[in-house]
Structures are given as C-alpha cells and as structure tokens.
Symmetry: C2
Subunit: 312 residues, 2 copies
C-alpha cells in the first residue's frame, strides 16, 4: 500500500485540509499520515467568532516533523502540503519535506501553495517568499503544484492576462516543477461565469484546458479534495514508467469526481441554498458530503464526462 | 448520516486512538468529528525515545470542546471517548460530554475508561476518581463502557476472582451504565492461554461470554478499533426501538471483524513475527492494517464465526 505524509489543517467538524484529504485517499488504498498544522473546531468560513482551537506551535510542529523524519524517513511514497497558517509553519514544513525528498528522491511531493484567491491574500505577506523558495528551488523539490490563478501569478512573479502570459508562466515554473495544475483560471480569454477553467500542464507537453460547470454555492475544502485526488491519480503515472494511464484522463477523472461530490453535497442541502461566508448554519449545510460520496473516489465507479476544452 | 464526536489521541503514523476509530466508522457511514487529545508521531510502544509531539494543553482542549458545544450541541448522535493523557483531560472531556448528553439525552456515549491492563496502571493514579465519577454518576451519563478486567475492577472498587464477583460487579455498574463489555477477562474460571474471554452485558439481561482465539503478537489499537465498531453496532440497537438486531449478535460480529483485521495485519508482517514493546521496527510491522481491511467493516461482508461460549 502506498503511504503519504500530509501536513495541513485539522478541523474537528467538517471537511477541509487534512479532513478533506484523508478519507478519500484512504478509500483509494493510501495510508495517510496526518501532521496537523492547526486544530480548529471548524473552518473559518463559519465566522471568526465561531472558530475555536489552536495553531500547532512552531516548536511543536518542528519536533513532530523532525521526529517523523527520524522514525520514518524511508516510509513515504508521497508528500502532501496544503494550508499552513504562517511563514514559520511553511518554512518548517518545507525544511523537513526537503529532507524527506533528499533521503528518497522517488517520493512525489504535491504542494498546494495556499495564499489567496481572486486578488486577495488570506495569509500574511511574508508567506509568499517561503512558497516561492520551495517552488523555484533549483533542487527541484516539488513535483506537483495546484495553485489557482492568483497563486500562480505570485509564484511566477507577474500578472497573467492572456494565453501567452499563461504559457510563459507555466514554462518558467516547469524549470523546477514537472506538473502544474491551475485549478481556476480567470484570465480574460476564458471568462465565462457559467464555467470554471482549469489548466493542466506536464513538463514538455502541451497544456490542456478543462471547462467544468460552475455550481453556484460556497463550498469549502474543494481545493483540498482536488489536491488529494490529483496526487493519487498523478502518482499512478509518475511511479510507474510503463503505465498506460494518460495524464489528461487522470486530471479529467479528478474533475469528474469533484463534480459528483458537489452534486451529492448539494442534494443534501435543504432548499439548495447558496451558502454565505460567515453564516454558520449555511456553512454547516454546505460541508462536503465526503462520507456519502465514499463509493465514487475510485476511477471505475463513476460515469465520466469529458471536460477537455482546448489545448493551450 | 449519523455523526459522532470522538475525543482521544491522534498519531501521525499508525493506528491507535482516533486514527484507529475514524476510518472504520467512516466506512460504515459515520461522520467522525475528531477532537485530538494529543498529537504524537506514533504510539508509545515504539519506545519513549521514539515518540515525538505534544499533549493538547488543558486550556486548548477546553476551548475546543467548549466551542464545539457552542456550535454543534445538537449535531451528534454519539460520543466516543478513549485514551486521555491525564486527570485534567479526562475531567475536561467529562464536563463537556455531560453537557452534550444533557442537551440531547438521545446521544449514545461510549466511554473506554483507559487506565491500565493486567494489574498495571498506565495513567497517573489521579485519573481513577475522574473515571469513577463519570461511570458511577447518578445522572447516568455513560451508555456503554469497554473496560478490560483490570479497569472493571477499578470502576467496581474490588477484585474480581470468580464468576460471582463478576456478576456482582456488572450488577453494580448497571445501576448507572446500560451496556458493559469487558474486553478481556482473566478471572481464573476462564483462564486458558489460547483464548481471550470477553463478557458482554446489557442491563436486565443475562451476560454473555465470548471466547476468541488468542493471536500471539503485540498489536496496538485493537481496543480502540473494538470500541469504535461496538459503538456502531450498539447504536443501531439503542437508536431503533423496533430493530430486530440482537445485542449478542452485534457483539459477536464486532469480534469477527477484529479477528479478521488481526489476521490481515499478520498476513502482511514479514516472518509472522511477534512484535516486542520498544522495538520500533517490529511495532511498525504490527500496525493494524486498517486500510487493507476496508471491505470488512460492514457486517454483511464477512463470514461469521460464532464466538458465544456461555451465559454467565
């Protein structure tokens, strides 16, 4: 069985961060070792006065990751990192993940550089250079990144307004990162409020544009679920040189699973409401229905729609 | 979908505490909200110099449980508590679980009063009165307990050397607790090194003795898995007055699942070794194979052996 180390947030109630990633990956046969960067009662969309719990202290996170490296440096096939609360936690994760990668270069590291969305940072500014260092490291530490367009611009270091800009950004980042998935692309040429555009690019190949229907609700944890499933699907390619699995199909499959999870989630919400940030009741209704979706994580278990829209 | 709140330890690597309880319950359709009382790299059997991480501070645990009560007091069908590191954490869990129960008396609380085994305490002495208070509360807070014989003796307040002692102890504890499962009974009349004896007692009914083969290996987390599965099986009876499910069959089924998980676990261990405490390598080999066992948690998915041995 493959085993991965996942460092991101833990919420007691609901499904974001490690809570969103773990169960689907376990259903797919992964042993998921969760290193929790925070322990909160629920995600922050419930309203800041309704979030309880604590950030794992820097010294505690360091001791934990250091101990995991001492005991299990050869035990992981993959590394996953997602939301981390501040500069020190990103740096700490980066330091130890780099050690894991150096001890075992076969490991696949998926880094979701969680910094913000649609022009808004939701971490402190000083987190930016930490993610840039990891993404642009000449040691080629990271194998897969899953930024949204805003995060891609930050890593690239420039605005992306045209397809040419996008190609340039991907080309630059491919110097250090083999697989880049831009999870929601809002550059003008794709602008269409009924759809979300996603670009998947593997080093040396033509990037593929996917177009998926936009479901008008505020879901949280979708990105974390996406990264987890993507890691599984891409791992199956990168870890097996003789595989017949195709990258574009694997990404398409992840998008299918996500769409199905969102539909299942909405089917349980009373009145098909659109959840608003800060409304605890609505947030509760819109928690991803990951348990109810447990039969659809395997590729073979769902009917597939072809979301491929164009080549870049 | 039923939802439960589980307060016990979290390990990054391996399967004890919440890591042992969560995945099987999720496979059975439960939303499992994990409140982690510690975050350790692995369980303590690896050797104390190989355990890294921290105990959730008392103020942090209190804030978390208090916040969960504020946000989700009506959202749980069940409460689970297992290993807690000290007096304050037991008291804190007990205080808030009692509030949950009072706010919603339908909730089923399974408390595993983890204190020690075979005459040895592995928590501090001052934990004892905390568990006794909860177990013997005239408010009848706890619905199910899963002590081993040593823990039963502590809660009862006397030695248990004969079947009559055992009956007396069960009778006393049934004054406040409807369901008692003694997970490993070593009283002389059952003494037989090839078997483990387990006694399941529901208030007002004749206690049932189960006899299961003893597998000679040091597994960790078996008790935590047992409690989790038992909560699922007993919940299905207690929450449904018109059920045709029988208590004795439900317990028998849990024992079947456990035996199967242990067999699967041993089938993966190189050389069928018997793991020794303090040997990290052997402990790693003997971690429960909960992911590989994912198809057997549902009652219908396994062939059943009848482990019922006698009535008490």
């Amino acid at each position: 069985m493959p085993r991965l180390l996942a460092t991101q947030s833990h919420v007691v109630h609901g499904y974001v961060g490690n809570k969103a990633a773990t169960f689907p990956l376990q259903c797919l046969g992964w042993d998921v070792d969760c290193c929790n960067s925070v322990q909160f009662s629920n995600h922050t969309g419930y309203g800041l006065d309704k979030v309880f719990g604590t950030i794992t202290r820097e010294t505690d996170l360091k001791e934990l990751l250091s101990g995991l490296f001492d005991n299990f440096s050869q035990d992981y096939q993959a590394l996953l990192s997602g939301y981390l609360p501040n500069k020190n936690s990103v740096r700490c994760m980066g330091t130890y993940y780099a050690k894991f990668k150096e001890a075992n270069p076969e490991m696949i590291w998926l880094m979701d550089p969680v910094m913000g969305d649609e022009g808004q940072l939701y971490v402190s500014e000083d987190v930016i250079p930490e993610y840039r260092k990891l993404a642009l490291s000449p040691k080629q530490l990271v194998d897969i990144i899953t930024p949204n367009q805003f995060e891609l611009e930050i890593l690239y270091g420039g605005e992306i307004k045209t397809k040419e800009h996008l190609k340039k950004a991907l080309k630059k980042l491919h110097q250090t990162i083999p697989v880049i998935i831009v999870t929601s692309c809002d550059c003008k040429m794709f602008d269409d409020k009924d759809f979300i555009y996603c670009v998947a690019s593997m080093e040396g190949k033509t990037p593929i544009v996917y177009r998926v229907p936009f479901i008008d609700s505020y879901f949280t944890g979708v990105g974390d679920l996406f990264s987890a499933l993507l890691l599984d699907r891409v791992y199956k390619i990168l870890s097996n040189p003789t595989t017949t699995l195709k990258f574009e199909d694997q990404v398409n499959n992840v998008l299918n699973v996500i769409q199905k999870v969102l539909k299942i989630t909405r089917s349980y919400a009373s009145g098909k409401m659109k959840a608003k940030m800060g409304s605890a009741l609505e947030m509760k209704e819109m928690e991803l229905r990951l348990i109810e979706s447990r039969d659809i994580y395997e590729t073979i278990n769902i009917h597939q729609t072809d979301y491929i829209y164009a080549r870049l």
